[in-house]
Amino acid sequence: MAAMPVVAVALILLPQSFSDRARVWAGPVFMPLQNLTHGWTLDIAEQIRHDIPARPADETGLQGQLDRLENALAEATARLGEYDRRLHDLAQIRKALDGLPCRLVPGRLLAPEVAGGRAGGLLTEGSRSGVSRGGAVIARHLNRGAREALERGEPVLTAAGLVGVVDEVGPLTSTVRLLADPRTHLMVQIVTRRDGQWRPGPEGVARGTGDGATLSVEGISRTSDVKPGDFVVTSPSSEAALPAYLIVGRVVRCDLKTTDLFYSLVAEPRVPPAETRDVYVLSPERHGPDN
């Protein structure tokens, strides 16, 4: 019994990442009942909010009502804008996929600070969420998981391009390995634009540099016509793991020494991973036994 306060003090002195990891481990113990209870609570809270009668409309009340309506209008406009943006994104991605038999699972990347803890850590940083002091974000958590039939290796994208690939799939959340993660290897193709004409360029392998901001593209022969500003897209090769022509990024640096056989290309992801929130997981169409 005397050891218990000592254990508590030892826990306090351990790094924050340990606390975050312990909370993630403890999540499944509480989560099933929490999810169930939370659903009921939302229903009750909604009911209570609707049951509260409106205040009588005297002069001050009218002004108050007007303020409330204005607020509601502003909120609705913002929501509408968000839905509109989502729809636009979806339409754009669908158009780009051009009849590919797949489904788009909308999801949201959790903030790195949130992902380490359980729901909204304000002061935490966790190695599990890809956050370390002075380090770069190379992985993010997604609020979709096995429940939405996500699988490892599926691409995560926005209308602007590829964000990363699903790495670990949990029951309710998943980890997304971002493009800048050194473990990310993609078969890519350079697409160039010369004299107003788009042309498919050479193919290579893109790999995250680990700095959280760039990718290096290897295997581009020195005879190729590549310049900064060219696009990097996923390869159309049948050996590529991802669907073809998803935008990965743009070439920002293009170095070539006289003795080199290959270019040393640095590309910047088209989608800044730290600022991205709404994403879509491109998942193969799955047919049930009846279909």
């Binding site: 306060p5 508590a8 351990l14 312990a22 509480f30 209870t37 609570t41 809270a45 803890g117 002061l123």
Partner: protein
């Protein structure tokens, strides 16, 4: 059997605390702070007032650790230490208190929530590298404490209905 029931009670209170009294649920926003009662402290206080003294230490430590695991930020162990420290002291002086009195239950709950929440807020801000903001911490904790103190007599009444399975000995006038 008794400890299993205590564990179930702790588990249920932790789940209700985090699932029901949360932003968007039944927490109430006051001055930008989501005010909510702390059910776990009420259960821990009940244990401190009615369980045997050597059991209070273990039970409140475990409850504190559970609360630590379910809190969204801060280091593990802070709540465990605060719960077992404060409530063991309270348990030691309980003979001088009329625990059946509603006012005692509310006042003790208010004080316990205030101390535990202020301690937790400040420790979390300190370890997170932020300002400790004592006044802000006290204000937020006082709001939570007031709400918990209102709820405490009802929870005590429910918990006293379980006195048989919990193996608590109470005087007839206390029921």
């Amino acid at each position: 059997m008794r400890w299993i029931l205590v564990a179930i009670l702790g588990y249920v209170s932790l789940v209700i605390q985090t699932a029901v009294f949360r932003p968007g649920g039944l927490a109430i926003p006051i001055h930008g702070h989501w005010t909510r009662p702390d059910l776990v402290v009420i259960v821990a206080l009940f244990i401190a007032l009615y369980f045997q003294r050597h059991e209070v230490f273990i039970a409140t430590w475990c409850l504190g650790l559970g609360a630590d695991l379910l809190s969204v930020s801060g280091r593990l162990g802070v709540l465990a230490l605060l719960y077992c420290g404060l409530l063991t002291v309270l348990s030691a002086v309980r003979s001088g208190l009329n625990r059946a009195w509603v006012l005692t239950q509310s006042a003790l709950t208010f004080a316990a929530v205030l101390v535990i929440h202020v301690g937790w807020y400040m420790a979390t801000r300190y370890f997170g590298g932020a300002e400790t903001a004592i006044l802000r911490s006290v204000e937020e904790s006082a709001l939570d404490a007031a709400m918990t103190a209102i709820l405490a007599p009802y929870v005590f009444w429910i918990l006293l209905r379980l006195r048989g399975p919990l193996g608590i000995v109470v005087e007839p006038y206390e029921i």
